[in-house]
Amino acid sequence: MGELQVSAAVPARGLEVSFTVAAGEVLAVLGPNGAGKSTTAAVLAGLLRPERAVIRIGGRTLTDTGRGVAVPIHDRRVGLMLQDPLLFPHMSVLGNVTFAARRHDDARTRARHWLQRVDAAELAERKPGMLSGGQAQRVALARALAAEPDALVLDEPLAGLDVAGASSMRAMLREVLLQDSRPVVLITHDLLDVLGLADRALVLESGHVAEVGPVADVLAAPRSHFGARFAGVNLVRGIVAGPGTLRTVAESEPGQRWYGVAVEPLTVGCDAVAVFAPGAVAVYRDRPHGSPRNSIRVRIAGLDVDAGAVTVRADDQADGGPGLAAAVTAESLAQLGLAVGERVWFTIKTQEVGLHAAGRPGA
């Protein structure tokens, strides 16, 4: 099985993406709602005809609009698994999987093998209506694999399950996908899916690839606002203004300077991002005195309380990025007497701020 190469544009939905997934690799596709994740899945599976696209798996061309190639859904050999397992209700579990393997003479034997593979052998004779959500999704996985696709597209396969169902299905997917030799595209909004299943992550924002890279890098040092939000860190965009210095660029106000530690060599004038954890942010009512620290005056947009910890979220940044977040204890929140709408100072120590080039090198 070969590498999946995708380059597709669907102007009607504002989508223009380009990425590759190696054989045996799981690429997580993240992004806010409406960023084009499901459109990407539809284009890969052939449900949607892109205006311009070249899609290849190994040496096989599935779509090439320039040459008029558009392999129909049933000949693409791209397996698709959705949030809704969509098991055929008029067939038994075994019948569903056998349907996928029917081009083989021993389809039923193969189907039983695949059911065993997903720990669902004992469900073979049941009708889909008698399965739990997690069981149905496991059968859907067996069915998708039984068709022997050249690539798998999983569009939020765990989103419809409860926590327990999702975690056992995630473990099942992990076991199956780790040994699998085909490229897998996993669309998700769950951090656990990314951590547990994916090799690389791609962040889609407004139909474009905002960043792509190894999961650990994207989570540790996101370059996109969504990636930052997803990883639970703050992200400030700007350009390199000097050694260890980043200056934000916004039309409405003079740029704010951020001082941090360059994680990689940075050239002055290049696009860069400053990344820091909410826990590194201290909140003050008055401007603190002292040595070179990053201080920024913000208006409190919201207070989220979760298990004794409080996240103070500021208004959106001047360039439209999501508001900075500070993690404080409930105790200090009470001492400061903070409320939504008040103006406070967020300060972050220089050594807590990582500066990265925007646009991942080599990705």
Binding site: A45, I73, H74, L80, Q83, F88, H90, A100, K127
Partner: protein, 271 residues
């Protein structure tokens, strides 16, 4: 209070509701009490009655089959196509529902009659349609088709295209999807649509009389025989009416109202 207890309805609603029920049931009761039950067997087994009943069953069966052959593809095309042609076609398909059957019969004559649009060519080829048993089947199909199409189109929309799509991603060609997924999933709608079409065909009168006439054993179906007997022998007309009701009831209650066992009707579709 039990869930779904209709106590929330205003009380006066029950009055028109009861009146409506009585209005539907009372004529049937009136028929039943006026039947000469002692002679019922003899009345419904006369050669003319038997010929009419057999012809009705044969033609209604044939027209139901024709409705399925034409109506299933039509319903699926209407359910899946969102273009302007489908939008224009949908109301046109429903015209026979609101058209007086006699008008439908006349219209069919202008198509299949000796001088009709198609009839003149058929006549030249030595094929005569009007006033034959074929005409009965065509008349019944004309009035029944919309019932099947409506029932099936609704069912097809409810099922959606999710299952078909998944089947295609599993490598099934469109024909395989049609036979193994699309049609089986539509089975409940197919059954109720076919039952509706059969019942409508069984009761068809106006279009049949206009387009096929009333020849015993050839085009005189049970409703036509009833109308004829009403002039000659009202007792026989009532007995035959009861017979027609019984046949319709057996078909409708026996087949249509029973859910297919084994699986629940699919709900919703995925992304």
């Amino acid at each position: 209070m039990r869930p779904g207890n209709p106590a929330t309805l205003p009380r006066w609603v029950y009055l028109p509701a009861a009146a409506g029920a009585v209005f539907v049931v009372l004529p049937l009761v009136a028929l039943a009490v006026n039947v000469d039950w002692a002679d019922f067997g003899a009345l419904v087994s006369s050669p003319a009655s038997r010929a009419a009943l057999l012809l009705s069953l044969r033609t209604a069966g044939a027209s139901t089959l024709l409705c399925l052959i034409l109506g299933v593809p039509l319903a699926l095309v209407l359910a899946r196509q969102h273009g302007r042609v489908a939008g224009l076609l949908r109301p046109l398909i429903l015209v026979p529902l609101v058209l007086p059957p006699v008008v439908g019969g006349i219209a069919l004559l202008y198509v299949f009659g000796r001088l009709g649009l198609l009839g003149q060519y058929l006549e030249a080829a030595g094929i005569r349609v009007a006033f034959t048993t074929t005409a009965v089947v065509l008349a019944q199909t004309f009035v029944s088709l919309p019932f099947l199409v409506i029932a099936l189109e609704g069912a097809a929309r409810t099922v959606g295209t999710g299952y078909d799509t998944v089947a295609a991603t599993l490598g099934a060609r469109p024909a395989a999807v049609w036979w193994r997924v699309t049609l089986p999933l539509l089975a409940p709608g197919l059954l109720s649509g076919a039952v509706l079409a059969f019942a409508r065909a069984l009761g068809e009168f106006g279009a049949t009389l206009t387009f096929a006439g009333s020849r015993q054993g050839v085009t005189r179906t049970l409703p036509l025989e009833i109308y004829l007997q009403r002039e000659i022998d009202p007792g026989a007309a009532v007995a035959l009416s009861i017979l027609l009701i019984a046949v319709a009831a057996i078909v409708v209650l026996g087949l249509g109202w029973r859910r297919l066992s084994g699986w629940n009707a699919p709900v919703g579709t995925g992304g």
